[in-house]
């Protein structure tokens, strides 16, 4: 029996794509075909934008409180479907149950925050800016926005944007990754069930052709993107901005985890494991380079031993097994890419102290997409594995003489997504947060993921645009300020 084809959701209706091109959606752990996704033609993206544009006038006139009540309903429906959404995500992506439940939770949190839109969207005013003349700012929606979603957080990432966009009165088109389209497809099913007005949220599946159509569509007010720096900067940002659109592109990363000699290693090591190997390293907030500060050989030896013991003990397997700590890469191709980086690391002279190409797999899944944790030592900042985003379960351990030198190493890199420091010193923490060039800072926190009421920050080659996703930044991104100066005769 052929796998189900995932349809587009346009104007409140499920629509079969007119394209006869489909891709199989494969469970990376079992290699089972879960479904098929259409690679929609460009005119189908245009159709989705047209449906969103048609829905905009009435939706933007809907009182903010009424809009937020839809979000309350959506939140309740997502809680009821929490377990189902979690399982879908594990099967299509490969992450563990804890990780996918965490992703669903984070997505729901954005809906909860956006439901506060009556307060968040308020403007401000001042009477008598000149005698008898008052001035005020109102925040207004812009029209139709889109999101091009990544494969690695297929449920959560669109919700960094979508709830704020529609809460502020805009309408929306989401384009899921063709690798992991099922979470968002189920989400749109829930959107449909709660009765959100037709056209307010739409979904079109597809690849590069669909994205290009969205960027070129004159009726699209803005586009949000999460993915690689190459696509985010050179396609989404440059072409989107040139086409006069608002653009928000959260891109690649190479995050450092700095460990000072006063760090609490019993808590630090599990945190390093989570940061580097969580989501099998497929996270823009994943730690990649562990920089150990100081020349204390005993401290380094102790930390290294604890890291290697913990990493070697990680249970790798299918995420639906609750005892598994790390799932597969999202596809065999992604595994091969990581393997090539491991080979490069060895060629360039780093010491491969734990080789993730040789590991024990829990259960009886084929190993096509699986890798174990890898640890490199004697890594220098010039090496490829220290500079380029691997997006896999590979840790590179480097040394630095001082915190200042560690910060210098981080700042010399092209990315600025996240950086973490492990220490018991407030003074060191202040120096770190003050000087390091990264948007999301962790102090004794390995995955510095901002809560929904804060912006998901990022700088340098990790972010293009001027407002970030989540929280008040997202409200600003999805609205324009209109300044009114009034006088009455």
């Amino acid at each position: 029996m052929e796998a189900e084809i995932l349809h587009n959701y346009i104007g409140g209706e499920w629509k079969e794509s007119r394209s006869n091109q489909t891709l199989e959606v494969i469970n990376p752990a079992t290699l089972e075909v879960l479904s098929q996704v259409s690679m929609s033609a460009s005119n189908e993206a245009d159709e989705a934008v047209a449906a969103a544009k048609a829905a905009f006038p009435d939706w933007r006139r809907t009182p903010p409180l009424a809009r937020s009540r839809y979000l309350f309903d959506l939140r309740e429906a997502l809680e009821e479907n929490f377990d189902e959404l979690s399982r879908i995500g594990v099967m299509e992506h490969g992450k563990t149950l804890d990780e996918m439940r965490g992703e669903v939770r984070r997505g729901i949190e954005n809906i909860e925050v956006a439901a506060g839109i009556p307060s968040l969207m308020m403007g401000y005013n001042l009477e008598d800016v000149a005698r008898g003349i008052d001035e005020y700012v109102i925040q207004q929606p812009c029209g139709v926005f889109a999101n091009v979603a990544p494969f690695n957080f297929p449920f959560m990432v669109p919700l960094w944007f979508l709830p704020y966009a529609i809460a502020t009165g805009n309408t929306f088109v989401v384009k899921p990754s063709p690798l992991t389209p099922m979470s968002m497809t189920r989400f749109l099913g829930i959107v449909d069930e709660i009765g959100l007005p037709a056209g307010v949220v739409n979904m079109v599946h597809g690849g590069a052709e669909t994205v290009n159509a969205l960027i070129k569509n004159p009726d699209l007010a803005g586009i949000t993107f999460v993915g690689s720096t190459r696509v985010g900067r050179d396609v989404i940002y440059k072409e989107g901005a040139a086409a006069g659109k608002k653009v928000l592109a959260q891109c690649g990363a190479k995050n450092a985890l700095v460990v000072l000699p006063d760090a609490d290693l019993d808590n630090v090591v599990p945190s390093l494991m989570t940061s580097v190997y969580g989501n099998a390293g497929q996270r823009c907030l994943a730690g990649a380079n562990v920089i150990v500060v100081g020349n204390d050989a005993g401290f380094y030896s102790k930390l290294k031993t604890m890291i290697l013991d913990a990493a070697a003990a990680i249970r790798v397997g299918y995420g639906l097994d609750e005892t598994v700590q790390m799932g597969p890469l999202a596809s065999p191709e992604k595994k091969e890419r990581v393997v090539s980086y491991i080979e490069t690391g060895v060629k360039e002279g780093a010491t491969l102290s734990l080789d993730g190409r040789h590991f024990s797999l829990v259960g009886d899944c084929p190993d096509d997409s699986f890798l174990g944790p890898s640890v490199f030592e004697d890594v220098t900042p010039q090496m490829t594995i220290a500079r380029e985003e691997i997006f896999g379960p590979v840790m590179a351990i480097m040394r630095a003489d001082s915190l200042g030198q560690a910060i210098g190493t981080i700042n010399a890199g092209c990315y600025g997504n996240a950086a973490s420091l492990y220490t018991g010193s407030g003074k060191a923490a202040r120096q770190f947060q003050y000087e390091v060039q990264a948007g999301n800072i962790g102090i004794n926190v390995g995955v510095a993921a901002p809560m929904a009421f804060f912006p998901f920050s990022g700088t340098k080659d990790s972010f293009f645009g001027d407002r970030h996703g989540q929280g008040r930044d997202a409200v600003q991104f999805f609205t324009e300020r209109k300044v009114v100066i009034q006088r009455w005769f």
Binding site: L97, R101, G102, G278, R315, V445, V447
Partner: protein, 156 residues
């Protein structure tokens, strides 16, 4: 098997509480324990209430802000077992001992989990600490009733 993930921890705890609740209910129906039926049914109901509380805490705190897959170390599930079934010829006193042991196992589990996951799974750790203390109070109440009954019986 060693419990290493939050999901495995929660599932194991749920099973322990279910086993304990089933045991309390079964013992409450035994002729030798009828005078403690109210207390035992109440313990079973509290087991289910504690399950809901932990499930809620886990569901609401699970995210990448906590070390859910790597924050638990050294918890061997074989050290915490509750047997639902019991031989039909056990005395009332022996049955009560089983009920007490089941509750003690749960208290020990909650206390141990609260200790090993404190900084890295703070909400979950705190929830288990709170429930461990409540279960201790529940057990003390049951033991007080049993002691009272025995004193009354010995006094006759």
């Amino acid at each position: 098997m060693e419990i290493r993930t939050a999901s495995a921890l929660i599932s194991f705890y749920m099973q322990l509480e279910s086993d304990a609740a089933a045991l309390f209910e079964a013992i409450a129906e035994e002729p030798g324990c009828r005078q403690y039926a109210d207390q035992l049914h109440a313990l079973a109901a509290l087991s289910l209430k504690h399950k809901r509380s932990i499930a809620r805490t886990y569901r609401h705190s699970i995210s990448d802000a906590i070390e859910a897959c790597f924050g638990i170390g050294g918890v061997d599930d074989s050290a915490y077992q509750i047997e639902r079934e019991f031989p039909s010829d056990l005395s009332g006193k022996a049955l009560l001992e089983r009920a007490v042991q089941a509750q003690q196992t749960l208290i020990r589990f909650c206390t141990d989990i609260a200790a090993v996951s404190k900084d890295l799974l703070a909400d979950i750790s705190q929830a288990f600490d709170r429930i461990g203390k409540r279960k201790k109070a529940e057990l003390d109440a049951l033991l007080a009733v049993i002691e009272g009954e025995e004193e009354a019986t010995n006094g006759q």
